[in-house]
């Protein structure tokens, strides 16, 4: 059991190396600014952690300090409301590290990207996703019955990278009992390159009471996919892993399992 706790910590602490480059369209100075390298936590969202990046680049642009940032990878705008780790696994996939990402301050692609202009917006999005996960997992939603301060603690735990603070509340959302050792449905989303994400209702046990594995979940949602690499939290999770366990341990802070399915 303490092995599980080690895994939770390890996942929380995961960071990815990113190489931030300012888009050529943005540069207003003569000199091209140096790129900015940083380790970004997998569990966070880009809009929350670009303070230093902005400070670094805005010297080279003519934009105001609170311009809305957006990023792209090789021309593809990055959905900033996805956790950093998910974007990394999808696009950096086995490429050269650090992962190169271009920074923009103008021409926000409104038809493609959701605006997350402020911390409040990210918080709202995070809480919304959390409530959705909660609704899927539990018959009687726990999150709506929590006190306001508990909601805040989850958010600030994520924001400030405080594992203990976050998990002090999150553990309640991950708890199961011996009478009821399974969630109602597993909150998950399957991402594939250039396709919209897939989210369906899947129970963690089958009709005979056997625990469903990742393999079975994939079979139900992607019956046609054959040769593929499946990554969760940057790990090629073994397909015999039970999804109940995965939901309890491999979910992102929003309580969703973000599963990346890539071609081999």
């Amino acid at each position: 059991m303490s092995e599980d706790r080690e895994i939770l910590r390890e996942l929380w602490n995961g960071q990815v190396p990113v190489h931030f480059v300012l888009s050529s369209e943005e540069i207003t100075t003569v000199e091209t600014p140096q790129p900015y390298f940083a380790l970004v936590p997998r569990q966070t969202y880009f809009p929350l952690c670009l303070e230093k990046v902005n400070r670094h680049f805005l010297k080279s642009t003519s934009h105001a300090a609170n311009a809305e940032v957006w990023l792209d990878w090789e021309g593809t705008p990055l959905r900033l409301h996805y956790p950093v780790g998910v974007l990394f696994d999808m696009y950096a996939n086995e490429g050269i590290l650090p992962w190169t990402v271009t920074v923009h301050y103008t021409n926000f692609p409104e038809s493609e990207l959701i605006h997350l202009p402020s911390r409040d917006a990210v918080e709202a999005h995070f809480m919304f996703t959390l409530k959705e996960a909660d609704s899927l997992k539990h018959k009687n939603t726990l999150v709506s019955n929590m006190q306001k301060k508990d909601h805040k603690q989850l958010w600030t735990g994520l924001l400030n990278d405080r594992y203990d603070q976050f998990w002090a509340i999150n553990r309640k959302l991950m708890e199961t009992s011996t009478e009821n050792p399974f969630f109602r449905y597993i909150p998950f989303r399957i991402y594939q390159p250039d396709k919209p994400f897939i989210q369906t209702l899947v129970r963690p046990v089958d009709e005979e009471g056997r625990r469903l594995t990742l393999e079975q979940l994939l079979k139900r949602t992607l019956p046609d996919a054959s040769d593929r690499t499946v990554k969760i939290q940057g790990i090629r999770v073994p397909e015999q892993t039970p999804i109940q366990w995965l939901s309890e341990h491999f979910s992102h802070p929003d309580n969703f399992l973000h599963i990346c399915v890539l071609d081999k």
């Binding site: 059991m1 303490s2 092995e3 190396p17 380790l39 952690c49 203990d164 015999q240």
Partner: protein
């Protein structure tokens, strides 16, 4: 009552090892050996709820194993007293020559007297000393005399004497109890004709069969060496599953049988010597043994020779001579022989079995691994494929990780197994894979880029919680806030802030962290720091369960990180037991520390009363005196053991009453000077039955309140003239008081890294320190009756040893301590004894008696160091034996050292550890070490030391694992 109605949570499988040892497997990490000196050749798992197994020994005799039941197995032995009426004598034992015996069995044909009435076998004992008259007959109450009257023997008996009743009889009863549990008891052979019977196979089924009369019974079939087939009759609980006799079953002409298998439901198959299969036909509800046989041709039109058949609740499987596996298709109630054989691919098996719920298990021929057939169900009755289940070397004996158990046989007939459940599933595989990948991920994505700045500030972090802290000064719980904060110099501080307490402790100053359970279900977190750092140690915190547990994890992980504890030391460590029986092991170098303050302790799981660690092995005794051996593990990062340790603890209370002329005996009119109506034995402490609380949530009551009938009357009362005089079971004229003893046991079960040791219960034990690797380690013990014993062949690789050797002693002992040259023991009379010659001969040569210390106090404990011997007396005084040496182990005289000492343990480095009272800890027992000791010195004062150094709170210590530095 069919056993099938009980759904046990623990599923079990029975395995036989090549050497003849029988094991029960309860999940992938829980292997329990049925300890016995007997070797078995075949084994049959008959009942899971009662843990009953049958086996054929290497002596070809049949045996039965009955596990310790919750309610003892009892039988009532009955004899009849018969009398006839004559005009001259009325009813008397003068009977007609044609009559039955005056004392007989029910039929009247067998002579039975109170003295000769046989116990069913050696394993039964009478519970009470007296025979009792059966006061009821057929539901009617008879008079106290218990006579039934009739015209003659045998006729209809009536309780009333009628005008024509010429005879009468009454029944005497005496209950006896089965004591042959937890061992292989030979099935008693009643009939002289059976005496020569030897068996080669046995199978027990029927655990799911409901019998017409409602009683459950096991159906036991066996094959004799001559190829005949037998049934064991009446294998029910009241016979302790021994049954009464063997009954031969007719076989078709000239057919000899070599193997038999009985289903947990209905069905019996056998294999003949020529490799054919035999199916028992005519099995019905009224006749579970069937009436005839049907022959079934082996697979491939007889080409295959069958060697084994296994019958499940709805299926039949078989093995061919070369290891081929076959499934019998079409077996139904109407068609018991089935229809055809289906070849089951790829695995060559040496044994096969079907569990009670239809799961199929087999042993691979070559690798001797346990395999499970996946996918067995209604849709695919022969399953899909074989999956290896492992269990190669699951026995985690310390120092024995590589021991491989070679399985020779497997049986799961009575087991209700779900191999898909987490107890069996090979979870380690995918989890190990994940753990490994996580470290690769770390390397690839983070370690190589560690120079990059992070977008988050990870260095300072805070964790805060609201709990309550115990303030000893004010004797109350106070609300407090605890916090872990970063401090200067990259350390972490543990802060506690309450109304009267403000503490700040560096995590590097933590000595030990423990979690205690309370009866009310609350948990307490105990944090030990150096006693002298000014803080009250231990700091006790309580609060909501999840918060307390969370903080226990944070602190113990922090503790482990700071102290680099990855695994525990098996040698050179001091063991200590806390007041709740929890073991702690020192994890840093104890000897080099000048003071016990610097010693750090890691908590292990367990509930123990005594622990002894020396020469690389650790034995311990539970409160119920059973022996446990440490597995040597505490994997820390990768998870802890999943073994189970249990302990029982008995509590008692006395019900006291006084006689008065009006109401007789009652507890209401006790004199003011009397003891309480419910009290302890001394009478001084009031102990109501419902005043007993379980010490913690981990404890459960094992039995309900029971009356102790020992040395008491029928209702359990002991009478005396007054409290407290000699108590006797019958009320004498002058007896004015009486008392009755009630007792109850509680038991605890923990997951803890302890293996059950030898099945004997010991009062105490001692291990010889400083034994070199590979040599035999002398382990001495004192049995419950005070006799001294020595465990044979204990080594680091085999810490449980082999057998007990009795050491003849002139007296009974209460304590023993074995040193490198001799053995000291404390006797019941308060003197000590020395056994010399232990270097030459394992059990030594002679006992010498040593006098009591000058103050006349009785010695209750002794401990032998390298150059010194110490003794502890009943009055808590500590004495040093002057002039002890290898050649003169008796020493010359006792020298007083200290008082207020509760337990002692000396080691080869001549250090003396003890449990005493420190000035700061008040009345709480603390670990102590003798200061000023110069090891190996010949000067008395150097060896005696000059003071005490104190450490954490503890109840018991064993320091004999500490070795002398080179």
């Amino acid at each position: 009552m069919s056993e099938a109605s009980a759904h046990p949570e623990i599923s079990k499988l029975c395995l036989l090892e090549a050497f003849g040892d029988v094991y029960m497997l309860q999940g992938r990490n829980q292997l329990k050996q049925l300890r016995s000196s007997l070797q078995m050749k075949k084994v049959a798992f008959a009942s899971q709820s009662r843990d009953v197994l049958y086996a054929i020994g290497s002596d070809l005799k049949a045996y039965v194993w009955v596990s310790q039941p919750e309610v003892p197995i009892r039988q009532v032995v009955a004899i009849y007293e018969n009398q006839r009426w004559t005009p001259t004598r009325g009813f008397s034992d003068s009977l007609l020559p044609t009559d039955r015996y005056a004392w007989s069995d029910e039929s009247g044909r067998l002579h039975r007297t109170k003295d000769t009435a046989g116990l069913p076998s050696d394993y039964w004992r009478f519970e009470r000393n007296v025979w009792e008259i059966d006061e009821s007959f057929n539901g009617q109450l008879l008079g106290p005399e218990g006579w039934n009257y009739a015209i003659d023997f045998p006729a209809t008996y009536t309780p009333e004497k009628r005008w024509n009743s010429m005879v009468r009889r009454r029944r005497w009863l005496r209950s006896c109890r089965y004591y042959g549990t937890e061992l292989w008891a030979p099935l008693v052979v009643g009939d002289p004709a059976e005496r020569g019977l030897s068996f080669i196979d046995i199978s027990a089924g029927g655990c799911d069969v409901s019998f017409p009369d409602g009683h459950s019974q096991l159906l036991v079939w066996a094959v004799s060496t001559d190829g005949d087939i037998f049934i064991r009759t009446l294998c029910n609980r009241s016979s302790a599953y021994h049954g009464s006799s063997w009954m031969m079953v007719n076989l078709p002409d000239k057919v000899e049988v070599s193997q038999v298998s009985c289903s947990p439901a209905e069905g019996v198959w056998a294999v003949t010597a020529t490799g054919w299969a035999l199916v028992r036909t005519g099995i019905s509800r009224d006749n579970q043994y069937g009436t005839g046989w049907a022959m079934v041709e082996p697979p491939l039109n007889g080409l295959i020779t069958l060697t084994q058949v296994a019958v499940g609740p709805t299926s039949v499987w078989a093995l061919g001579k070369g290891g081929s596996v076959w499934f019998r298709q079409g077996v139904k109630k109407e068609v018991p022989t089935g229809v055809a054989w289906v070849d089951i691919e790829w695995l060559s098996c040496s044994a096969i079995t079907v569990s009670r719920n239809g799961e199929v298990f087999a042993l691979g021929t070559e690798d001797r691994q346990v395999y499970w057939r996946t996918g067995v169900g209604l849709a695919e009755p022969h399953g899909r494929k074989w999956r290896m289940m492992g269990f190669k070397s699951p026995v985690h004996l310390p120092n024995e990780p590589s021991r491989i158990l070679n399985w020779s046989f497997i049986n799961a007939t009575a087991g209700f197994l779900d191999p898909r459940s987490s107890t069996w599933e090979e979870t380690e595989e995918w989890k190990d894979d994940i753990v490994e990948q996580l470290s690769h991920r770390f390397e690839k994505e983070m370690k190589n880029f560690s120079s990059l700045p992070s977008t988050v500030e990870r260095d300072d972090w805070n964790a805060v919680a609201d709990l309550r802290v115990w303030s000893a000064k004010h004797s109350q719980w106070e609300d407090c806030t605890i916090e872990l904060a970063a401090s200067e110099f990259n350390q972490t501080k543990f802060l506690i802030d309450s109304k009267h307490t403000k503490e700040s402790i560096l995590t590097s100053d933590l000595a030990a962290v423990q979690l205690h359970e309370h009866p009310a279900g609350l948990q307490e977190l105990w944090v030990y720091t150096a006693v002298r750092s000014g803080t009250q140690s231990p700091i006790r915190l309580t609060g909501s369960r999840s918060v307390v547990e969370h903080w226990y994890t944070i602190l113990s992980e922090g503790f482990r990180e700071v102290n680099g504890v990855k695994g525990l030391k098996k040698e050179d460590a001091v063991w200590v037991l806390s007041s709740t029986g929890c073991p702690l092991v020192s994890c840093n170098d104890v000897t080099s520390k000048n003071s016990l303050e610097g010693v750090k302790w890691v908590t292990l799981s367990g509930h123990l009363d005594k622990v002894e660690s020396a020469s690389g092995i650790t034995w311990a005794l539970g409160y119920d005196r059973s022996i446990w051996i440490w597995t040597g593990s505490y994997k820390g990062k990768l998870g802890t053991e999943k073994r189970v340790q249990n302990d029982t603890h008995g509590v008692e209370t006395y019900e006291n009453q006084r006689w008065n002329p009006v109401g007789g005996f009652t507890s209401h009119l006790l004199l003011p000077t009397d003891r309480h109506a419910w009290s302890d034995e001394s009478g001084r402490v009031q102990l109501n039955k419902d005043g007993f609380n379980l010490p913690s949530v981990a404890w459960k009551w094992d039995t309900d309140w029971q009356v102790d009938y020992d040395n008491a009357d029928k209702k359990g009362w002991q009478y005396a003239f007054d409290f407290p005089f000699a108590y006797h079971p019958h009320k004498a004229m002058n007896d004015c008081v009486r008392r009755r003893r009630w007792f109850r046991t509680m038991k605890v079960e923990l997951s803890a890294p302890w293996l059950p040791g030898p099945a004997t219960k010991l009062r105490t034990l001692s291990i010889c320190p400083e034994v070199k690797n590979g040599d035999i380690i002398p382990v001495w013990g004192v049995m419950m009756d005070g006799s001294a014993v020595l465990r044979d062949r204990v080594t680091r690789d085999s810490p449980q040893g082999d057998t007990w050797i009795s050491v003849k002693s002139p007296t009974a002992f209460v304590d023993v301590s074995v040193g490198p040259h001799c053995v000291w023991a404390a006797a019941v009379d308060g003197t000590a004894y020395v056994r010399n010659g232990t270097k030459e001969k394992m059990d030594g040569l002679y006992w010498f008696q040593v006098e009591k210390p000058p103050n006349g106090a009785s010695i209750v404990q002794v401990t032998v160091g390298h150059s010194a011997v110490w003794a502890l007396c009943q009055d808590h005084t500590l004495w040093f034996r002057k002039d002890y040496s290898a050649s003169f182990p008796e020493g010359t005289e006792w020298m007083c050292v200290s008082d207020d000492v509760f337990q002692i343990s000396a080691n080869a480095a001549d250090q003396l550890y003890a449990i005493g009272l420190s000035p700061e800890s008040g009345s709480m027992k603390t670990l102590a070490r003798r200061t000023g000791v110069v090891p190996g010195s010949t000067i008395v004062s150097d060896l005696m030391g000059n003071g005490w150094d104190f450490g954490i709170l503890a109840e018991h210590v064993s320091s004999r694992g500490i070795v002398l530095d080179a």
